[in-house]
Symmetry: C2
Subunit: 426 residues, 2 copies
């Protein structure tokens, strides 16, 4: 018996799928009740088809999605084109043609999951996307199956390999943001337009998906507070280091009494925190829960083979479910009413760097105290352009207090807020 | 609909099961198609029954296993007594009575899995034991489901919380082995007879189980080379640190060309290796594979709640399988002919500490060279009892060469081998 599949796109990840199926065929054949075979591959146009065939690729390439949809032998469509359109239309049509769908498309799933999952349910087919979050780390299936018995209270993740590579170089080698970005681009880790990676957008998409699996809530992407790494200065890095912290771009989901607080932001992690050692392009998801307590899942967040391995795991799961259960399963069954935390329930300790017209510690401390902020540590430094810089760590404050002080600082002529980063895990 | 279960034993882990079922009931009820209820609990005798009821435990306690076996409403038996007998007899009878079994008993499963799994298969019932390896880390189900598509080449694990706690103190605080053991006993981490933990026996059991899930091979416990932490000296710890390593008790399974090399031994890990930061009672399993590359799974290796959470995950999986598939599933489907690595294919770099009658570097280097061992670094020190100690790191050697040099050193009157530890991950 054979499970016939079609690939949409034949880029980095898609071309890794036959690679994994071949390199690991012995184990895959033993563990799938139906063997997996690639019937058709959709490519953009005739030119691309000719190019791939000239390279020796011996697949049935097609340029019209209808050829795949109409093929009744194909029971799974694997979408690896990326972005929203035409991926969304193709997935919709595949589900409506009663084909199971596997995808790695975090952007699409984060923005349109409700709609797509409803179509999958109506058509009684499965929609799996293990590779969409942290490429090679099998975090989604672990959450929905192994952590099924646990109540998760907080998730912290290093979820973007590009920005983590850059931050690792900034922290360990003292590189500037600009040098780190240039090197990431030279090494092929960052695209020519790095916005999604460095602004925390990619990580925010992943938090939307993680929220469903870890907390049963379907967050709107616009409810994810996100801030990137572009404003981090060498002074911030040094301050963190001398105070026992490492700066990472951390995506966090925390259940407060009013709902979920979901945020991506540069964050200070204590240097002995398990996430603090996750370096270069590696990713990790750190989970706090009432049963297990603390656990962490670490691996490559991207790359052809790791991502294709997750795609093939979805395919094998489908192959076995089709053979034994004969029916669709939901990837995630956990559903609760979605609630977003009120600003006053969302709290954290903070690090502020503030440029000053005069180096008056007492005045600034009082200014902050007036806003309800208690200063824990206070240091004065010279910034690179010779301004006086106050570097401050605070006790825990709410987002409401934070927003208020940000506004007050913006109105003040004495102070200019340079950065405000969370201090986590103390 | 209700899944009725019985607990065998009501000790640390077993009494955590109702705790997790209650504390996390909202999620558990939503995610199980049959709710889980504890029908009967087997305790040792009437006295224990009275004691527990006097404490306010309101369960149906029984003292005869037959009362559970004869109860047709009970479909799952959860064995949490530990050790070999009577656990083995009870599990066998439960399986023969067509009851699914969940257990956390690594000793029993490592030694008698073939027999018990055959009985489960014959009787078409499931036998799950996620909690048997690394308590709160969901490593077994992750291996059998998420890493299904990957070919694993090496597994390294910090698998024993007690010895890891002791080593962490020896490394970070400079404690002696004796002080570390005494503290572990005072804190309740080590039993009064700590043999299984400190001699690597407990970790060896876990390697037997991991070998099945990661490599599809059923290793005999006696084929696991194991060495504990009792001989580690402060000099070893210091040498490791000054050369950029951390000493951990590492369980390793590696596929060589002739078969699996399976070993538990104190090992030098480079200090930036992900496992090197796994401290105190935490456990982790680090996996090298052709698809994902490297990944790590980190969490508590023991403790009431983490272990009970894994037991409840097995119960929920069973509950859903009983409701939908209606039939037993194997926990692990991966099976290959078992092969043990030849000594000459099992290789590693080594650290030796050798007591000398004279401090002649050249003579010892030549002695080792004659055995086919190339010295990479060589240092002379005074040991605590004022002997001269050579501390040496070698390039990679085979176990055959190792055994030969161990014998030669034993025969020599000039040298006495104190310790030989692997240097991993270079
Ligand atoms: N790369 C990773 O490590 C990684 C990790 C996790 C998740 N993902 C996700 O996996 C997906 C694929 O990523 P990727 O890195 O493989 O991207 P990629 O290398 O850019 O591949 C996408 C392929 O789709 C083709 N394509 C675009 N429009 C098409 C159309 N209308 N019809 C047919 N083919 C079309 C592209 O062709 P052209 O080149 O002609 O446009 C390209 O070959 C994305 O959703 C991404 O977010 C990737
Ligand atoms: N504790 C952990 O963190 C952990 C982690 C992973 C796996 N495990 C495994 O989980 C299992 C249970 O461990 P545990 O820590 O819960 O041990 P435990 O606290 O010693 O509990 C075992 C219980 O079984 C009872 N018992 C012994 N013989 C019995 C019999 N014939 N009939 C009825 N009850 C009997 C014992 O009673 P008495 O006290 O009267 O002997 C005791 O209450 C073991 O296999 C262990 O290896 C434990």
């Amino acid at each position: 018996m054979t499970l016939k599949i079609a690939l949409l796109g034949f880029g980095t990840v898609a071309s890794g799928v036959p690679l994994i199926l071949e390199q690991n065929s012995e184990k895959i054949n033993q563990l799938t009740q139906k063997s997996i075979s690639i019937s058709k591959i959709l490519v953009r146009d005739e030119q691309e088809k000719s190019r791939l065939m000239a390279l020796g690729h011996n697949y049935h390439f097609v340029t019209d999605i209808e050829e795949i949809l109409a093929d009744e032998e194909i029971s799974v469509v694997v979408e690896l084109i990326g972005r929203i359109e035409p991926a969304k239309t193709f997935i919709t049509k595949a589900l409506e043609s009663k084909k199971h769908v596997v995808s790695a498309n975090k952007d699409l799933i984060a923005l349109h999951d409700k709609e797509l999952l409803a179509i999958a349910r109506q058509n009684k087919v499965s929609f799996y996307y293990e590779a969409a979050v942290a490429g090679g780390i099998p975090i989604l299936r672990t959450l929905s199956q192994s952590l099924i018995s646990d109540k998760i209270t907080r998730v912290l993740g290093v979820l973007n390999g590009t920005s983590n590579f850059m931050l690792t170089k900034m922290v360990e080698e003292g590189w500037t943001y600009e040098k780190a970005l240039q090197t990431a681009q030279e090494l092929g880790y960052a695209e020519s337009d790095p916005t999604n990676d460095v602004e925390g957008i990619d990580a925010a998409y992943k938090l939307v998906i993680l929220s469903q699996f870890a907390f049963g809530m379907t967050i709107d992407y616009k409810d994810v507070i996100h801030q990137g790494i572009t404003s981090i200065t060498p002074q911030d890095v040094t301050y963190a280091q001398t105070h026992g912290y490492v700066i990472k771009l951390v995506g966090s989901i925390e259940e407060t009494k009013s709902g979920l607080a979901v945020e991506v932001a540069p964050s200070f992690l204590p240097e002995n925190h398990p996430l603090a050692r996750v370096n270069d392009v590696m990713n990790a998801v750190y989970i706090e829960s009432i049963g297990i307590g603390e656990s962490m899942y670490y691996g490559p967040g991207a790359g052809q083979k790791p991502t294709a391995t997750s795609v093939v795991a979805d395919l094998m799961t489908l192959s076995n479910e089709v053979a034994t259960v004969g029916e669709a399963k939901l990837f995630n069954n956990f559903n609760r009413p979605t609630k977003i935390a009120k600003l006053e329930d969302n709290q954290s300790a903070y690090y502020f760097s503030i440029a000053l017209s005069s180096g008056d510690k007492v005045a600034l401390t009082d200014f902050l105290k007036n806003e309800g902020i208690t200063v824990k540590e206070f240091e004065l430094e010279k910034s690179s352009n010779d301004e006086t810089l106050a570097m401050i760590s605070t006790t825990s404050i709410t987002k409401q207090v934070l927003q208020h002080v940000q506004q007050k600082l913006a109105e003040s002529s004495d102070y200019q807020l340079i950065n405000a980063f969370r201090i986590l895990g103390d």
